[in-house]
Symmetry: C2
Amino acid sequence: MSKNEFICDCNVIHQDIVNKTIKNMPDADIFNKLAEFFKILGDTTRSKILFALDQNEMCVCDIANVLGMSKSSISHQLGTLRRSGIVKCRKSGKEVFYTLDDNHIKEVFEIGMEHIEHKK
Amino acid sequence: MSKNEFICDCNVIHQDIVNKTIKNMPDADIFNKLAEFFKILGDTTRSKILFALDQNEMCVCDIANVLGMSKSSISHQLGTLRRSGIVKCRKSGKEVFYTLDDNHIKEVFEIGMEHIEHKK
DNA sequence: TTGACAGTTGAATATGTGTTCATATATACT
DNA sequence: AGTATATATGAACACATATTCAACTGTCAA
C-alpha cells in the first residue's frame, strides 16, 4: 500500500522519477513567493506602470495620464507594487514620485518579450 | 483644454515626461501578451509543475503525485500551460508525457528567485 | 467485449482581484 | 482659515479563475 494513495487519486506510474523530483522540489514557501512575484507582473495595468517607470520617475497623475486611467485605480496598483517591494516612492510637496525598486524588472520583461516573439 | 481631460480624471503635472513616455510605450497588444505570460507563471500549482517538468518529462499521474493533487486539477492546469505554448506533450499508450516547450522558463525562474532573495 | 486505468473536459462553486465610487488626508496657495 | 489639488484608502461590484465532481474518451489486457 503506497503512501501516495493518501495524497492523490491515482497510481504512481514512475515511482523513481516521482521520488527524485519530490526530493528536488523547493519548499512550498518558495513557490508561494515566486508565484506572488509573477502574479504582480501578470496584470496589464501593472506591467504598463512598470514599463513607464523604467523610463522615468513619475507621479501618480503622470502615470494615470500615460495609461489613460483614473488616479484611484493607479494609486491602488501602486500600493500593490509598493507592498511587493517592486516600486518605491518619495514624497515632494503634494506629489508622490514613484520609481522602480527592483533591478530585475527589465530583465524579466526582456525574457517575457522573447517568449512572445518566439510564440508568434 | 488638454486632450488628457477626456482620457483621465486628473491634471497633467509633467506634460513633457508624459508625452515622451506615451511615445515610448509599446502597443497594448504587447502588454496583454506579456501580462498573460506572467499570469501563467503567477500560480503556485503551475510554477510547481514547471519546476518539476524542468527536471524530467512526466505524465499527468507523476505530476499529480509529486504535487499531491488530483489528476483532474493537474490536467486542467496542463491544458492552460499547453494553450499558452509553455509545455508540450506526447502521447504514449494510455499515458501523456509533458515537457517544457519554452527555454526561457528556467531563466525567468532564476530571476524570480533573485527577487525573492533580494527582498528577504 | 468487457473491465480497468490514464487522461480530458464541462459545470458548479468558492475564492481572488481590478476598478469605481465615496471619502479621508495632506500639502500648497490665497 | 478656507479652498483646491494630489494621493490614499475602504467598501462594493463585476469579473476572472482554481479546484472539485461527474461524466466522458481512448487504450490496454484479460
